[in-house]
């Protein structure tokens, strides 16, 4: 069990102004699940990109089966038996699921044409193995973000690899899919596949991990066996400080001002007859399985998609034909779950990204006050601990979690009275998560109404004043202030209990 299959020695990698990897060493044994842990921007993704030939290290060596390797391109790494699921999606939206799974490795007939029957069969087999119900002929752009994640997984599995790297595979998944994923990982392990697993969900680590390596500021802090390490120790290794846990807020139920009132909203088959409300100063969570329509609901409220019927009031005012601009005028904000697609202007600086949503309120005269903008950006950088040398840097150069924080900062910089957060802590490390929770908490205390969508149930339970559980486009249950348990929520979400 302890034969080392992959070894990385003294890897250094520097980006302009950032030492992303500083002398990192690390080894992987056959058949183990090796967890990489670290704060946002610690260098986890960079290390994986070095391992797969996306980046070239400044110095250091990679040994595969004791042989030194250099990977020029991702293809080299693939050939050597290393497959990866990247943190950011890498699918071609205009191609079908099957085409994406075997992209670059199409089965061909002898005449050089693609063997489409085989392509479909093989894809179907992998999807079946993952127990997901996706049509391999569907175009990827028609899939939700969770299903896309599963296609990524299928794609990685289709490579008959010895080493499989997963960079935050569970960030968008809910418990059911996560369990399927873990089953998959275990059966791969049995086949002798080694797995590098990156996640910010600490509770997963001991379920699935064998060993854990912690990175901090581009350096390796140490490797532990998953069985005999205490969670608090891990967090201390990651963060380098203690986290404070306590949060006290009494919900001000006496406030009767509504931030959001939705009545009988329907939209095709996705949303049926939904009525919910959010009071100012209240944190309301939408719980449910992936595909239950939570994102769709939020999008319909925000005017991204058209609703068929029903009414929406924001901060007491009717919005008959919602559009993002109109909603923002009524002091609503919406943080989307997909930062790359809908959240960020990747090739622009952090500074301008942060003011995009609040241009009208921050600069009411239409003239940009650069000093003010810089001040706001710096404020949020410090408040949210965005790891970057300066706020002039383009967002694309940030780590995934830090990008997420920029999106968050964008919405926090507006003077919204009603905010929708769709998976706000996706890909965010424990420390920062804690801070974001505090921030949401503070916002609510200041009287902002909050509607939060999260697949992370513990998060839902710690933050929510009230929970709506969704299933198949309907609200199946409203759960009140006290005594909600995880089991209860899951039961309603899966239909285990009649709504």
């Amino acid at each position: 069990m302890s034969d080392t299959i992959l070894e990385v020695r003294n890897i250094c990698k520097e980006f302009p102004g950032v030492k992303a990897l500083d002398n990192v060493s690390f080894d992987l044994r056959r058949g183990e699940v090796h967890v990489l842990l670290g704060e946002n921007g610690a260098g986890k993704s960079t290390l994986m990109k070095v391992l797969t030939g996306v980046y070239h290290p400044d110095s250091g060596e990679i040994y595969l089966h004791g042989k030194q390797m250099t990977f020029q391109t991702p293809r080299d790494a693939q050939k050597a038996g290393i497959a990866i699921i990247f943190q950011e999606f890498n699918l071609a939206p205009n191609l079908t699921v099957a085409q994406n799974i075997y992209l670059g490795r199409e089965p061909c007939t002898r005449a050089g044409f693609i063997d489409r029957a085989k392509l479909l069969q093989d894809s179907q087999r992998i999807l079946d193995f993952l127990k997901v119900d996706i049509d391999p002929n569907a175009k990827v752009e028609t899939l939700g973000i969770a299903h896309q994640q599963l296609v990524e997984l299928a794609k990685a599995l289709s490579i008959d690899s010895e080493i499989l790297i997963m960079d935050e595979p569970t960030a968008t998944l809910s418990d059911r899919e996560i369990n399927t994923l873990f089953d998959t990982i275990r059966s791969l392990q049995e086949r002798g596949v080694s797995i590098i697993y990156i996640s910010h969900r600490l509770q997963e680590l001991r379920v699935i991990g064998n060993r854990i390596t912690v990175l901090r500021d581009g350096q390796s802090v140490g490797t532990r066996n998953a069985g005999d390490v205490a969670m608090d120790d891990l967090i201390r290794m990651m963060v380098g400080r203690e986290l404070k846990k306590e949060r006290i807020r009494s919900v001000n139920t006496s406030r009767e001002e509504y931030a959001l009132e939705v009545e009988n909203l329907s939209q095709g088959k996705l949303l049926r007859d939904i009525s919910i409300y959010v009071r100012k100063g209240e944190v309301v969570c939408l719980a449910g399985l992936v595909g239950s329509g939570r994102t769709e609901l939020a999008q319909a409220i925000y005017g991204i998609t058209r609703r068929d019927s029903g009414s929406v009031r924001i901060c007491g005012r009717d919005i008959p034909r919602p559009l993002p601009t109109r909603c923002i005028r009524q002091k609503m904000g919406f943080m989307s779950e997909s930062r790359k697609e809908f959240g960020l202007a990747l090739n622009l600086p952090i500074r301008t990204n942060i003011t995009h949503a609040g241009l009208k309120t921050i600069f009411p005269s239409g003239i940009v006050d650069l000093r003010k903008e810089r001040r706001i950006a710096k404020e949020f950088r410090d408040k949210l601990r965005i790891v970057t040398p300066d706020v002039e840097r383009n967002v694309i150069n940030l780590s995934g979690g830090n990008q997420q924080k920029v999106v968050l900062a964008k919405w926090l910089s507006t003077d919204s009275e009603f905010l929708v957060f769709d998976e706000p802590t996706r890909g965010i490390d424990v420390g920062a998560k804690e801070e974001i929770h505090n921030m949401i908490h503070d916002l609510a205390t200041q009287g902002v109404g909050i509607l939060m969508i999260s697949s992370d149930l513990p998060e839902v339970l710690t933050l929510a004043d009230r929970i709506y559980v969704m299933r198949e486009g309907r609200i199946v249950k409203e759960l009140g202030y006290e005594g909600i348990t995880q089991e209860e929520v899951i039961a309603y979400a899966t239909g285990g209990v009649a709504g």
């Binding site: 293809r75 992209l103 670059g104 693609i114």
Partner: protein, 346 residues
């Protein structure tokens, strides 16, 4: 019950037929009403339009489509067509030729295709190895082609005289029928080619490229690059090579266009073909290509190319003033693409 499922099947098929085809049929209907169906839809005019398509935008549009599909744009196609056409003419007018006419023809076509390949590769080489936008590279290469064409022409137009085999490419037909028309009291009999060689070449190329795009890894790669360049790269696709090939093929297609054009005119001037690249792009976009890449198919592009040829011929049949034709074509192009875009949005 059965009727219902039948209707559903028809609907499903209809849904897959591109909107632009219906629009094209609509345009044809309007023209035949305006000109008189007997005049407009007679065999000779139908063949006339298809012929104009084959020797004009038809083949070249495939190159435009390929470039656009891989998120680029190829502005050099007209220039390459001009250069290849010029080379063909120059070689065929070689006198006294050291080799026989048949061999000379083979040589001329080979050289013309090679020139297309070289210029296409030049595009591809710079493009796939740097991050210069294709607009700029192909614009530059187009100008280089124009210069070469002018210099080869040496300040005259080059004529190709009495090379029947060569003329057959652009003007010949495998099968002809007789069409008789009355002109006043005179009866005029014309033979109308119903299997013109240039049209057959065009159709063969469309079949070939349709196969290429749908059935080979190369096609998938082109679509993947258009859909998500990074994903394609990280999936291990050799994006450099794929993009190189796209522009190489574009160069070859433009060369074929140039050869057909010269054969049809039996002469080459350096101005021939210049500006055609815009027709090609328009054809691809009318066919449903998105400039952001990854959309549309060769056959849709064919519909786009036909639309443009039908418009040109139709407006001239209804005797619209040339300047008005410009306006009308601009308008119709915008309307057609707008309708298509509106349908796709739903």
């Amino acid at each position: 019950m059965n009727a219902k499922s039948g209707r559903r099947r028809v609907q499903a098929v209809l849904k897959r037929v591109p909107m632009t085809l219906f629009l094209l049929l609509g345009i044809i209907l309007v023209f035949s009403l305006l000109t008189g169906p007997a005049k407009y839809l007679k065999l000779s005019n139908v063949m006339n339009v298809i012929n104009q398509c084959a020797s004009g935008v038809g083949i070249l549009a495939l190159g435009s489509f390929l470039a656009i599909c891989s998120t680029g744009v190829d502005l050099s196609l007209g220039g390459i067509a001009s250069l290849s056409g010029m080379l063909t003419a120059k070689l065929l007018s070689w006198a006294p030729a050291p080799i026989g006419p048949a061999l000379l023809l083979v040589l001329a076509i080979f050289v013309a295709l090679a020139a297309g390949a070289v210029m296409g590769s030049l595009n591809g080489l710079i493009l796939s190895r740097t991050n210069i936008p294709s607009f700029i590279i192909t614009l530059g290469v187009s100008k280089i082609c124009e210069t070469l064409s002018r210099v080869i022409a040496g300040g005259t137009t080059i004529r190709v005289n009495g090379h029947a085999a060569f003329e057959f490419i652009g003007s010949g037909s495998l099968l002809s029928v007789q069409q008789t028309t009355m002109k006043g009291a005179r009866v005029i009999t014309r033979s109308i080619g119903i299997l013109p060689v240039s049209v057959l070449i065009m159709l063969a190329l469309y079949v070939l490229f349709s196969l290429l795009m749908r059935r080979t890894p190369f096609g998938t790669y082109v679509y993947a690059i258009g859909g998500n360049y990074e994903a394609a790269e990280l999936s291990g696709i050799d994006t450099t090579r794929t993009r190189f090939r796209v522009f190489l093929l574009g160069g070859l297609l433009a060369a074929v266009t140039g050869i057909i054009m010269t054969s049809r005119l039996t002469a080459a001037s350096a101005a021939n073909g210049l500006g055609m690249e815009f027709d090609g792009i328009a054809a691809a976009v009318v066919g449903g290509a998105a400039m952001t890449g990854g959309r549309s198919t060769p056959w849709r592009t064919f519909i786009g190319a036909l639309t443009i040829s039908v418009l040109r011929n139709g407006f001239s049949m209804i005797e619209m003033l040339p300047a008005m034709q410009m306006i009308a074509i601009g308008l119709v192009l915008i309307i057609v693409v707008a309708i298509d875009a509106a349908r796709n949005r739903r």
